[in-house]
Symmetry: C2
Subunit: 438 residues, 2 copies
C-alpha cells in the first residue's frame, strides 16, 4: 500500500482547522446558536445539493459563475451558495405546514467557486436568521434584529462594535425627490465613501453626469451628522414629501426608538445614511456591523428587510427581515488579528494516568467523573510519566489524576494542576468537588 502514496492535501479556499482551533470555532458556533434560540428562532437544515434550476431560479450574474454545478445521472445539480435561496424554497415548499411569522435559524456551509485568494473561502459557514411573515410583517421585527446582533457579539466577547442602520426607502425616496429613478450607480459610488472620501464621491457623481445642485444635495444628504435623533430630524427637515420617503423615515424612526427599548446601548448602533447593502434584494431596513478597532475586516454581520422572499417558487407574498454572519471568514480575520488564541482550548477537563497495574481503578474513576458530566480521558498507553504529562500539556488539558498502588491503598489520588505543577492528594469526593469548582 505505502509504495503508492497520494499526497494528503485539501483544496485551496477550504478552511481546515486543528482541533484546538476547531474547539474555538465550535464555541463561536454554539454561542451564535444559543443566541438565535434565545430569541425564539427555530432550526432548519436543508440539503447541500439541490436541483440547479431551483437554486438558480433567480439566475444570472456572479452566482451562476461561482456556483458548483454538476450532473449525476440525468440530474442537473448544484451546491447551495447561500442559505437564503434554500430558505425561500423551503418556505414555499412547506408553506402549509409552517406557522407565520416563521422565525428560523440556519447554520451551515455554503459553496462559492470564487477566485482563490487570502481570506476568501470557497466553503464557508453562514449563520442566518430570518423572520418571514405571511403577506405582512410588523416593523418591530426590524428593531429586534439589532438586539440579536448585540446579544450575540457581546457573548462572542466583543465590546466595541457598531451596528449601522439605514432604510432603503429613505434612500429611494430621496433620489426620487431629486428626480433620479435609477440610483444604482449612485449608491455604488456612495458605498465607496470610506475608500474614496467625499471629494472622490463628488468627482465620481460628476462623471456620471449629475448636475452640481444634485451633487450638492447628495453630498449634503450623506453628510448629515449628529445623534440618531438629530439625523432623523434633519431628514424630516429636508421637506421631502413623496410617500416612499415618508414611509421609510417613519420606519427608521420607529426602528431607532425600539432598538433602544430592546436595550441595545446607544454606543452600539448608529443610523448611517451611506449603507445600502447590495442593490436589489433589500427594500427597507438594512444593517451592517463593524468592529470599531478593526474596520478593515468589513461588516461582520449584515442583512435587512425584503418585500418578498420566495417569488420564484410561490405566489404567496412573504416579506421578511434577516441577517447573516459569515463565520468562516470572521474566524479567519480574528485569527489574523490575533484576537483568537488557541492555547487555552480544551474540552477535556482531566486526564487520568494510571500505573500499568492500576488501569481498572482508573477506568472506575473515569466512569464516575463522566457520570458527573466531567469530560475525562484515560491514558492507558505504555510510556514514561514525562511523556504522559507532555501529552496532557500539548492538549491543554488542565488537570491530570495519577493513580498508583499507594494511591489506591490510601483511597486518595494525586491531582496535578498541569499549569502550575501543584499536586494534591484527594479522595473521589474531594476530587469531584474540586473539579466542579474549577
Amino acid at each position: 500500500m505505502s509504495s503508492d502514496i497520494i499526497k494528503p492535501s485539501t483544496l485551496p479556499g477550504f478552511m481546515e482547522l486543528l482541533p484546538s482551533d476547531q474547539i474555538l470555532f465550535n464555541k463561536m458556533l454554539d454561542i451564535i446558536r444559543e443566541n438565535y434560540e434565545k430569541f425564539g428562532f427555530l432550526p432548519i437544515d436543508t440539503p447541500l445539493i439541490e436541483k440547479a434550476e431551483v437554486l438558480l431560479a433567480k439566475g444570472g450574474g456572479e452566482t451562476e459563475k461561482q456556483i458548483y454545478r454538476f450532473e449525476k445521472g440525468d440530474t442537473d445539480l448544484a451546491l447551495r451558495f447561500d442559505l437564503t435561496v434554500p430558505l425561500a424554497r423551503y418556505v414555499a415548499q412547506h408553506f402549509s405546514e409552517l406557522t407565520f411569522p416563521f422565525r428560523r435559524y440556519h447554520i451551515g456551509k455554503v459553496y462559492r467557486g470564487e477566485k482563490s485568494q487570502k481570506g476568501r473561502f470557497r466553503e464557508f459557514y453562514q449563520c442566518d436568521i430570518d423572520i418571514v411573515g405571511n403577506e405582512k410583517l410588523g416593523i418591530i421585527n426590524d428593531a429586534e434584529i439589532p438586539s440579536i446582533i448585540y446579544s450575540t457579539f457581546k457573548d462572542l466577547g466583543f465590546d466595541s462594535f457598531t451596528i449601522k442602520i439605514n432604510n432603503r426607502k429613505v434612500l429611494k425616496g430621496f433620489f426620487l425627490w431629486l428626480g433620479i429613478e435609477d440610483s444604482t450607480e449612485i449608491l455604488r459610488t456612495i458605498d465607496k465613501l470610506e475608500k474614496i472620501g467625499l471629494e472622490g464621491v463628488k468627482e465620481s457623481l460628476n462623471e456620471q453626469g449629475l448636475d452640481k445642485s444634485t451633487i450638492d444635495s447628495i453630498i449634503e444628504f450623506i453628510n448629515i451628522k449628529g445623534s440618531n435623533e438629530e439625523k432623523i430630524k434633519s431628514l424630516k427637515d429636508l421637506g421631502i414629501e413623496n410617500d416612499i420617503f415618508t414611509e421609510g423615515l417613519k420606519e427608521l424612526a420607529d426602528v431607532n426608538h425600539h432598538i433602544e427599548v430592546f436595550g441595545v446601548p446607544k454606543e452600539n448602533y448608529i443610523i448611517d445614511l451611506t449603507i445600502a447593502r447590495g442593490l436589489d434584494y433589500y427594500t427597507g431596513t438594512v444593517y451592517e456591523t463593524f468592529l470599531n478597532d478593526y474596520p478593515n475586516i468589513g461588516s461582520i454581520c449584515s442583512g435587512g428587510r425584503y418585500e418578498n422572499l420566495a417569488g420564484y417558487y410561490t405566489k404567496q407574498k412573504l416579506p421578511g427581515v434577516g441577517i447573516s454572519i459569515g463565520l468562516t471568514r470572521l474566524f479567519y480575520q480574528l485569527k489574523e488579528a490575533k484576537l483568537i488564541e488557541s492555547t487555552d482550548a480544551s474540552l477535556t477537563k482531566i486526564i487520568i494516568i494510571p500505573m500499568e497495574e492500576c488501569i481498572d481503578k482508573a477506568i472506575e474513576i473515569a466512569s464516575t467523573l463522566r457520570k458527573h458530566n466531567i469530560n475525562t480521558q484515560i491514558y492507558t498507553e505504555k510510556g514514561k510519566m514525562g511523556k504522559k504529562f507532555g501529552y496532557a500539556d500539548k492538549l491543554n488539558i488542565p488537570y491530570a489524576l495519577i493513580i498508583g498502588e499507594e494511591e489506591i491503598n490510601q483511597g486518595k489520588y494525586t491531582l496535578r494542576n498541569m499549569e502550575s505543577g501543584e499536586q494534591n492528594m484527594l479522595s473521589i469526593e474531594e476530587l469531584l468537588l474540586s473539579l466542579r469548582n474549577n
Copy 2:
C-alpha cells in the same frame, strides 16, 4: 416574477425536516456530541469537497460508483462519502501537529448516490469517533468504545439495546486452523445467519464446496452458546494453536473483562462470533449495536479496530479503533417505528403577547428573560388573541405571557400555561422563578 414559478422541491434521498422534527434531530446530535466530548474526544471538521484522487485513493468497488464526482475548472472533485477517508487524509496531512493517541470526533454530512429507495439516503449525517495511535494502540481502547456506545444510547433514551462484540483475529485464526486462507465468502454467508438460519448457512457452505467436517466445525463454532465467559472458555477449548487465534482470543477476553470495568451492564453487551463488519477494513475487535425490540432496524452503531488508517497517504503506521452512528437513517427509522414524536418539541420557553399599546413593556420583559437565558419570543403582529394563542400552540411553546395596560399598572402579568390553560398573575421576579422551576 410570480408569472414564472419553479416548483419548490428537494431531490429524492435528501431528508429535510420541519422545525419540530429538526429540534429533535438536533437534540440527538447534541447528546451524541456531549457524550463524545465526555470521553475526551476532540472535534474536527473537514471540507465536504476534496480532490477526487484523494477521496478515491483506495479506489474501486461500490464507492466509485456512488460517489458524487465533478469538475470545476480543471480540478477533479468529489464529495466525501464517509468520514473515515477524510480522517485518514487529515491525520496524514497534519501528522506532525497532532498528539497521539489522537481521539477525534467528527459529526457531518456525507454523500452517496445510492439507488433511491425508502429509508435510504443520499445525504446523511455520520457521527464518528476514532482513537488513532502512532505505531501502536493499547487494547483498553477497544474496551472503552462499548462504554461510549452505552453512555450515548442511554442518554438518547434507549434502554433495551445490545452491543455485539467479536474479534476478526479469532475468525481468521479459526479459519486458518480449518485450512481456509480466504474466508471472505464464508463470512459473507455467516453474516446472513439471521436471515437464512443455520440450515441455510449449511446449504450455502456446501454449495461453496466445503467438506462435511469443515462445515460441521463452522456450524459448531457459530453455534457456541452461553455467557461471554463461557464462550471464551469454549473458544479456548477448541485447542486452536495458531498465533492469530491466540492473539485474537486474548484480545477478546481482555476487552470483555474491561467492558465490565467500564460499567457497561452485562445485559447490554454480548460476544457474538457471527459478526464480521465488512470484509477487509477491520482487523481486530468489531462492534455492532442492535435495539432489542427493533432488530429489523439493523445495527445502529458499528465499528471496529483497524491495523493501519492512512496507508494511502503516509508511511506512518496508524492503528486505530472507532465507531460510527448513521443518524439520518436512525432518525428516519425511529420516526417510522413511532419512537419519536415531534409534538413536544419546542426550544422556545415562552411567548410574550402584548396589547398593541404595550409593546415597549413586552420588549423590556423579553430582554429581561433573555438575559436570564430563557428562550423568549415576542409576538407583535396585529391580530386577535385567539389567533395568537393558536400560534403558540402550533409551535408547542409551553407558556404565554399576556401584557395589557392593567397588567402594567399592577406590575403583574398574566402567565398562561398553554397546555392546561391555567392563568396566573405574576411579578417579574415570580415569573423568573416560575420559568426556572418548570
